[in-house]
Amino acid sequence: MADGPPSMWAMADGPPSIWEWIARNWDTGRVDSIKNLLGDHLIMSLVPIVAALVVALPLGLASVRWRWLYQPTTGVFNVIYALPSLPVFMLLIQFTGLSKTTVIVPLTFYACAVLIPSVVDGLGAVPEHVRQSAVAMGFTPLRRLVQVELPIATPVVIAGLRVVAVSSISLVSVGALIGQGGLGMLFTRAYQNPFVPPALVGIVLIVLLALIADGLLVLAQRLLTPWVRARRSA
């Protein structure tokens, strides 16, 4: 110890504590401030979730309407789901460049692989007598779908959305390996420097984001399906 070269510990104030590091890097005005990375991360994880819902709803509805569609659709998406994200990003770079789109597109496909079965299962959970009651009451097919079938399918669809939200939020960070990782950029920075605090901050923020998204979806389910609680308390 004594006769070694002066180490980083010999510096006047030593390495910054994790709180100092956060304070110093939160808003530096540069693209890689924690604040900006957080924003990027939100965009790259929210867009796939919303886009997947927009794609999965009609595809799920079509699969329920025309049963033969279901097997091939889920088959294709299951194969896509099995593809590791990093090589898919790399292959997409040729077409979409080093942009957020390169991360957003594959994440949308992964999300669809989870959501389509959720939509189909959810609609499948609508009891036949309920469907027929709606028909007997003179509901048009569209009104029946919007006012009866989709509300009943909501809990199952939201269960799928929760899986999608949490895994998208954590998967975005892989994009850091092509320079588009949102908070994942903190991991490559930690590895290159090498310095632990950015890695810890990145992990904690990503897990927090995932928990918040999950909580919001649970809340959305309570608001969208009030009858579930009413039945339970009755």
Partner: protein, 223 residues
């Protein structure tokens, strides 16, 4: 296409410790190692918790949390904390991330078995261990295998990313190629990993077809 020809046509890429066969073997080795370790931990635990019904909520909560953990972050953190002297710092997160899908599906599979079926087995005089081994596990097998497949997908992907923290395997072509702007290597490596993942997928489908009892798989189809 030209990149693919360049990558696969280069003789150097087919021999030596940095050649395609060696990297493929490494990828297989790390993936199998992680998956086997995860199976050894997750299956007994899942069977125990599913059969006794104790600690189920813990399993589900932990698994949800684990899904939120960013792979790359975990890899970097372990390597920074434990150093790169051995591959242990890389294998630990690989195994940690491989456990939840197997654990949850084993647990859900066992717990989801029709209670009447379970009671009938007890009624026929089977002991607890026999009920588990002869009735619950065969009926839950499709879900257990699904967990294994999801976990294998995860492991193949994570092994790829682990090349960033110095692990060998096919990810090396992609990561090294990207940092040296050798796009033939990036594209070639990516295609290899994608093919590797697809083969794993097909293998699991075959295993499922061969091991799941016909009676059980029919029930699944009805659903």
């Amino acid at each position: 296409m030209n990149w693919l020809l360049e990558f696969f046509g280069k003789a150097d890429n087919w021999s030596g410790p940095a050649g395609i066969p060696a990297r493929l073997l490494e990828h297989l080795e790390f993936s199998v190692m992680a998956l086997v370790l995860a199976v050894l931990i997750a299956i007994p635990l899942g069977l125990l918790i599913g059969h006794t019904g104790k600690g189920g909520i813990g399993v589900v909560v932990t698994a949800n949390l684990a899904r939120a953990l960013p792979t790359l972050g975990l890899l970097v953190l372990f390597v920074l904390l434990l150093g790169t002297a051995s591959i242990l710092p890389v294998i630990i997160p690989l195994v940690l991330l491989a456990i939840p899908p197997i654990l949850v599906n084993t647990f859900e599979g066992i717990r989801g078995v029709d209670p009447e079926l379970r009671d009938a087995a007890y009624g026929m005089g089977l002991r607890s261990g026999q009920v588990l081994g002869r009735v619950l596990v065969p009926v839950a097998l499709p879900l257990i295998l699904l967990g294994l497949r999801l976990s294998a997908i995860q492991v193949v992907a994570t092994t790829t990313i682990a090349a960033y923290t110095g692990l060998g395997g096919l990810g090396r072509f992609v990561i090294d190629g990207f940092s040296t702007q050798d796009y033939a290597s990036v594209v070639g490596g990516s295609v290899l990993i994608v093919l590797f993942a697809l083969v794993v997928q097909v293998l699991f489908t075959l295993v499922r077809r061969m091991t799941v009892s016909p009676g059980v798989s029919q029930r699944v189809k009805v659903r």
